[in-house]
């Protein structure tokens, strides 16, 4: 843990142009929520941070379904994905997903700390002349924002103080198991996400069950959707009580569960209970908006020509509010 932290402090000093990541997309982002890919690529590009694609990457594989089904498969494909970042000559693999982070970070951990697993998996990979040499560190977007960019630099990037009331959802695999995670914070009392949101000029509103799981993971959504939606509904009801402009997430699967989930929970609502219409945005979208970029550059569009696509809950009320917020410079000039 200390080792990781010391390394992080070194990284904070690096100028943006020295930061370089292999971008791991996973499945849900490129194939269902491309707005997250759009916003993230756009923001990193504007910051001058180098992003290298991981050509030929497969599913991480998803920790719920595949780790449940077959641990050998999970380790093999996870390690193969790590070798792509390694062969890109990058030490940092950036994921935008808690699930991909959970898988890849734990596979990294197993490969680095368990000689038996390392040997066996590398023997399998050798079939395709691949070898994981342990030179890759798996990173999550929140971890990169918090440590590599850092709160001070995040503050300095803000060109439009949004002052939005947000409900933050951390998700699970970014916090637990605590022994293998990066933030060095108590998983029952994490603050890094709140700190980032506040640094970029919005408010993190506390709500009951803030740290509760969204319900999507562990193949629960895939296997037993109604049970998984019970989690989501419980959280949405708490979020509605405190009143927010949007929900902010750092994981596409949580994103999907809250976005599409608001439509899906309709059938579970009490008699007369109002439907949910709370916009859900990804952390890089919030960052881009705070940096003064236009919503369409950050994937915040709803194409009318396509049916049944993300986002399922309209951004409109949020966009209307943001339209009325001037850039900080304009405010100062007045």
């Amino acid at each position: 843990m200390t080792e990781i932290k010391e390394k992080k402090e070194e990284l904070i000093e690096k100028p943006f142009s020295d930061l370089k990541y292999s971008l791991y997309l996973g499945c849900v982002i490129p194939n269902r929520y491309p707005m997250i890919e759009r916003a993230s690529r756009f923001v990193f590009d504007k910051l001058g941070i180098e992003i290298i694609d991981m050509n030929g990457a497969t599913c991480c594989p998803a920790p719920g379904v595949f780790r449940s089904v077959d641990k050998a498969l999970w380790l093999t494909l996870g390690a193969r994905n790590l070798t792509i970042a390694q062969n890109n000559n990058t030490t940092e693999l950036l994921t935008l997903c808690n699930g991909c982070f959970g898988t890849l970070h734990e596979v990294e951990h197993e490969m680095k700390s368990n000689p038996e697993i390392n040997k066996r998996i590398n023997e399998v990979l050798a079939e395709k002349n691949l070898h994981f040499d342990g030179s890759v560190n798996v990173r999550q977007v929140m971890d990169v924002l918090y440590f590599d960019i850092g709160l001070e630099r995040l503050k300095s990037l803000v060109k439009r103080t949004l002052n939005l009331r947000t409900a933050i959802h951390y998700g699970c695999h970014i916090l637990k198991p605590a022994t293998t995670q990066l933030f060095g914070q108590d998983p029952d009392n994490p603050t890094f996400f709140d700190e980032v949101v506040e640094a970029i000029g919005s408010k993190s509103i506390d709500y009951r069950e803030k740290l509760m799981c969204c319900g999507a993971g562990g193949s629960l959504r895939t296997g037993f959707k109604d049970s998984s939606l019970q989690y989501t509904l419980a959280k949405l009801r708490e979020i509605r009580k405190v009143g927010v402009d949007c929900i902010v997430v750092c994981c596409p699967f949580c994103h999907l569960q809250f976005d599409l989930g608001q439509v899906e929970v309709s059938k579970l609502l009490d008699e007369g209970e109002e439907e949910f219409r709370i916009p859900v945005i990804f952390i890089t979208q919030l960052l881009g908006l705070a940096m003064g970029y236009e919503p369409e550059d950050l994937g915040m569009i709803k194409p009318t020509e396509l049916k049944g696509i993300s986002p399922f809950i309209s951004f409109d009320p949020l966009l209307k509010k943001i339209e009325s917020i001037p850039l900080d410079e304009a405010k100062r000039d007045k």
Partner: protein, 175 residues
């Protein structure tokens, strides 16, 4: 303790070359305190009682594999963090699921996702360059097909070779 013997026999019977059972063995120190169940969100909505799962697994009770309860876990890791005996409860459940799958107890809804991965490399595939998702990518000014295994046929071949190497299809014939 005869219970221990049952557990050990039971697990080694199904353990494959690559899966080590050290985590499963740790449930021998379970004191049935119920902390895992108390912090389990799934327990509020489903029939999952983690403490009972541990007891059944320890007793080698077969219904722990054949029943649906182990599949109600959303892998939030609350129990893993809270168990006073530091049993990696979530990992134990995942391990039990591996064993259940070997016995043919795989929930139907998971089969299509496994097929997706084994055939396309993605659990959630794009659905081809003419799908609505590909069009949505274009509207977001992204490459129509992402630079993943979807864009590289040789990567898909690599995936198939590795799946064969670990005999995935022999264990789980869903390709």
């Amino acid at each position: 303790m005869p219970q221990d013997q049952k557990l050990l026999k039971y697990s080694s019977e199904y353990s494959d070359e690559l899966s080590l059972d050290d985590e499963l063995k740790k449930i021998r120190s379970c004191i049935q305190c119920g902390m895992c169940s108390a912090v389990c969100p799934s327990g509020s909505f489903t029939a999952l009682v983690t403490r009972k799962i541990m007891r059944k697994a320890l007793a080698g009770d077969h219904s722990v594999l054949s029943g649906p309860e182990i599949w109600y876990c959303s892998t939030c890791f609350n129990c893993y963090e809270r168990c006073p005996r530091t049993i990696p409860v979530t990992n134990v459940i995942l391990r039990l699921r591996n064993m259940a799958v070997r016995e043919g107890y795989l929930p139907d809804n998971l089969k299509s996702v496994i097929k997706n991965l084994a055939n396309t490399g993605h659990a959630v595939p794009l659905g081809g360059p003419d799908s609505k998702w590909a069009k949505l990518r274009e509207l977001h000014k992204l490459k129509k097909v992402p630079p993943t295994v979807h864009s590289f046929p040789e990567a898909l071949d690599e995936l198939f070779t590795l799946l064969d190497k670990i005999k995935f299809n022999a264990r789980i014939p869903y390709r």
